[in-house]
């Protein structure tokens, strides 16, 4: 996978985690939702390290860096060049 494909898939997985986490806050005994949540978080963790191998650190205080310090590298998320184009079928 190239950078944009990785980022698109990670964005999708992380969004599922965000949505399921909120659901679980009000449904803490839903074991099916918890196992889906756990599954998504494990998959996202694998993708996260794959992304970081190509694009550098993703998360403050959680990612390691080469020298020079990679955290300051452009682009930042608010810059258009950072983002991928979402298409109807979810591709990039």
């Amino acid at each position: 996978m190239n950078r944009n494909q990785l980022l698109a898939q990670l964005t999708a997985l992380d969004f599922m985690a965000v949505d399921l986490q909120l659901f679980l806050d009000s449904h803490p005994c839903d074991s099916e939702a918890i196992s889906r949540y756990n599954d998504i978080v494990s998959k996202a963790n694998i993708l996260r390290s794959e992304y970081e191998n190509i694009c550098g650190p993703l998360t403050s205080y959680r990612s390691t860096s080469n020298c020079p310090w990679q955290w300051i590298d452009d682009p930042w998320p608010w810059q258009g060049s950072f983002n991928f184009k979402l298409t109807r079928d979810g591709g990039v």
Binding site: V18, L22, W78, L86
Partner: protein, 199 residues
């Protein structure tokens, strides 16, 4: 504490500048029903919230609103970064430009700077959760008016995503409200004391 993730919750990639749209969308950055107000409201209310579920809902929605704040800032930034002075004048954005150039500043569509007067943190869990449900509906309505004003699919697409999140948040706050009401009711039930001869 918070951990920053160097990506958006949902991608923002806008080709064409459009200061006219930027001028109204900024209201979801710093306006009365915007993302900054939402985030500060929930993250402040959580300190006095009752029940584990409702505390977590406020913490997590307040956190997600920060990601939405970042998305709105990105939309406005990308809509104005390449605008010429003539385009800014044609869009009626001179007042903003005079105060802020093309920077991002928390204000409403009508130019009123962000104010915490738009939100409350009451210490009463029912009052707070009722306000939160109303806030989600006001934000949903604002996104609908903004979608009506937009003609660029690059902008409409993320606005639709943000609108949908308001609907989900409203649902979660409603569930939190039910849980808190049950909790408060349970505190009013006292076990019947057995008369002395049965003890």
């Amino acid at each position: 504490m918070w951990v920053y993730e160097k990506k958006l919750e949902y991608p923002i990639k806008i080709k064409n500048s459009n200061p006219k749209l930027a001028k109204v969308i900024i209201t979801q950055y710093g306006g009365p029903d915007g993302e900054l107000a939402a985030s500060i409201r929930y993250l402040s209310q959580r300190f006095s919230m009752v029940t584990p579920q409702a505390r977590a809902i406020l913490n997590d929605i307040g956190t997600e609103e920060l990601a939405h704040l970042e998305m709105i800032g990105s939309i406005v930034k990308q809509l104005i970064q390449n605008a010429t002075i003539d385009e800014i004048k044609a869009a009626g954005m001179e007042a903003f430009y005079a105060d802020h150039d093309k920077a991002i500043y928390p204000q409403s569509a009508s130019g009123v700077p962000f104010s915490a007067a738009a939100l409350q943190s009451k210490g009463d869990p029912i009052a707070d959760l009722t306000e939160d449900m109303a806030a989600e509906q006001k934000a949903r309505a604002t996104y609908e008016w903004l979608i009506n004003l937009s003609d660029d699919p690059d902008v409409i697409d993320p606005l639709k995503f943000l609108r949908e999140r308001e609907v989900v948040h409203f649902q979660r706050f409603g569930e939190g409200m039910r849980i808190v009401q049950d909790f408060l009711e349970s505190k009013k039930m006292y076990p019947v004391q057995l008369p002395d001869q049965y003890r």
